[in-house]
């Protein structure tokens, strides 16, 4: 297993896997198979895959420890960038198919409707980490500052869940599920950090 994880094939496989939802949507558009309201379907699916892939990216760190597979780190950037890819499609669907690039209306929407505000914030939080995901940027910023910047992903996840929560009309199961998932992923980190800092304190005389 660990041998596979370090192979190039594993990365290629994950790349293809992450593309499947987009290809499925594209095929659905082509065949007219996305139901009565294909644009709504595209919006829903791209939004959901953003949250799922964000969760997958955030799950890497705890999984590395739990499974004892540090190699998993190789996949985190790709998962994060695919989350950003689906977020971009989601945003583009809204800007183009929903608002026909009517920027005045879009600005009013962002200011006036809190679920749109939250969605835009989520995208805003994803943007800097996505742009600085390369090795070059790690060097330029320095590991510590780079890592701090990339903590924006937590904010993106939170804003994304809030965005969905505020959008839903009455059935809150789906946003609640994502909220639970992200809370677990976040707690897994906080616990470790508090244990680490506790350890440090114990070590000082």
């Amino acid at each position: 297993m660990r041998l596979f994880l370090v192979s190039r094939a594993a990365k290629a496989a994950l790349f293809v896997l992450c593309l499947i939802p987009a290809l499925w949507l594209a095929a659905g558009v082509w065949r007219g198979a996305l139901g009565a309201n294909p644009i709504e379907k595209i919006t829903l699916e791209t939004g959901q895959w953003t949250l799922r892939l964000l969760a997958a990216a955030l799950a890497i760190t705890p999984l590395r420890r739990l499974a004892g597979w540090p190699e998993l780190i190789r996949f985190r950037r790709m998962l994060g960038l695919f989350a950003f890819f689906y977020a971009s499609l989601h945003l583009l669907t809204y800007l183009w198919l929903d608002q026909s690039f009517d920027w005045g209306e879009i600005c009013r929407d962002v200011v006036k409707r809190r679920f749109i505000t939250a969605g835009m914030a989520a995208f805003g939080f994803m943007l800097p980490p996505a742009l600085t995901s390369t090795r070059g940027w790690i060097m330029r910023l320095g590991g510590r500052r780079w890592q701090q910047l990339h903590r924006l992903v937590y904010l993106a996840a939170a804003a994304g869940v809030v965005h969905l929560w505020w959008k839903v009309k009455s059935d809150l199961r789906e946003p609640a599920l994502y909220a639970l998932l992200f809370t677990i992923l976040l707690l897994a980190r906080l616990r470790r950090r508090s244990r680490e800092s506790g350890g440090e304190r114990a070590a000082t005389p």
């Binding site: 139901g35 209306e105 959008k167 009455s170 059935d171």
Partner: protein, 304 residues
């Protein structure tokens, strides 16, 4: 995007029901489908009406697979899947309250009260999408007159069947059930307000509110309550489900109005199902000539 089927075809040229039922026959036989068989029934002796001339009908498949009927699930495709087994006969409707002759009607009796008409109406959902649907029905007034409303009847309250055994997904609806709706008496007696028992020349599919539903074309779709079991003539404004669930977002009147936004989204435009870009939403869904006078002097922002 979607390959464009021309929607300007008359619906007689749309894939015949028998054809796609046979396509689904495998699935149908797996699910033992009395519901499907029932919904294929044609309704005879339907008079055409002048409503909806020049409108392009929304395809039958879209009308019957893209539904809000939370008792059968909250996703749009849920009702078509989960309402198959819904029993629509025997079915009675209790009409009572401030009336001289309250009584219980068998649904088949109701369908003989008045000549059935085809009414092609626009349907605008509060969520921002719309359809054009050829309903079969007759004015609600014809039923109400049978029970002889008293002058004290100022509003009409409607109730949907709530049977958790037939509607296991209702537990997740997130709205109080049974579903209830209401109209002011003049809205209820308005000739545009109909009870519908069919669409596209056929008996209403379960997911569309069989066996009997309300259609109020100048109001958001949720006012057009489905699968009605009780109609009450009442003295004061009755509670309505979405208003109970979220009073800030859904008012009693809920007239289609592009100038009054839903708190969470604009109502200026709508996506007509089958169209690529959104179109402008019309005040009273374009039925202003007929109904605007009902609201003269009312602040439509306050009474949203």
């Amino acid at each position: 995007m979607k390959r464009h089927r021309s929607f300007s075809l008359p619906y007689s040229m749309v894939t015949p029901k028998s054809v796609y039922l046979s396509r689904r026959s495998l699935l149908g036989s797996l699910l033992a489908a009395p519901g499907i068989a029932a919904s294929a029934e044609r309704i005879e002796n339907v008079r055409k009406s002048g409503y909806g001339k020049g409108e392009t009908l929304t395809p039958y498949d879209a009308v019957t697979t893209y539904n809000n009927f939370y008792e059968f699930g909250t996703a749009k495709e849920d009702p078509a899947r989960h309402a198959r087994q819904f029993r629509t006969r025997p079915w009675t409707v209790r009409v009572e309250g401030e009336a001289l002759k309250p009584r219980t009607f068998d649904v088949d009796e109701i369908l003989r009260l008045a000549p059935l008409e085809e009414r092609i109406y626009r349907l605008r959902c509060v969520e921002g999408w719309s359809m054009v649907i050829p309903w079969i029905g007759f004015p609600l007034a014809a039923l109400l007159k049978r029970v002889e409303p008293k002058s004290s009847a100022k509003f009409v309250a409607f109730e949907t069947l709530y049977d958790p055994k037939q509607m296991p997904r209702a537990a997740w609806a997130g709205i109080p059930l049974p579903y209830v709706e209401g109209l002011r008496i003049d809205e209820a007696m308005h000739p545009l307000t109909i009870l519908s028992a069919g669409l596209y020349g056929e008996v209403l599919p379960n997911q569309n509110g069989a066996p009997l539903r309300l259609v109020v074309p100048w109001k958001y779709g949720f006012k057009s309550i489905k699968s009605i079991v009780r109609i009450r003539l009442v003295r004061s404004q009755p509670p309505t489900t979405w208003n109970l669930a979220n009073p800030r977002e859904y008012g009693f009147y809920s007239n289609v109005n592009p100038a009054v936004d839903h708190p969470r989204w604009s109502q200026k435009k709508e996506r007509r199902i089958g169209e690529f870009f959104k179109r402008d939403t019309l005040l009273f869904n374009g039925y202003g000539n007929e109904v605007a006078s009902l609201y003269s002097g009312m602040d439509l922002r306050k009474y949203y």
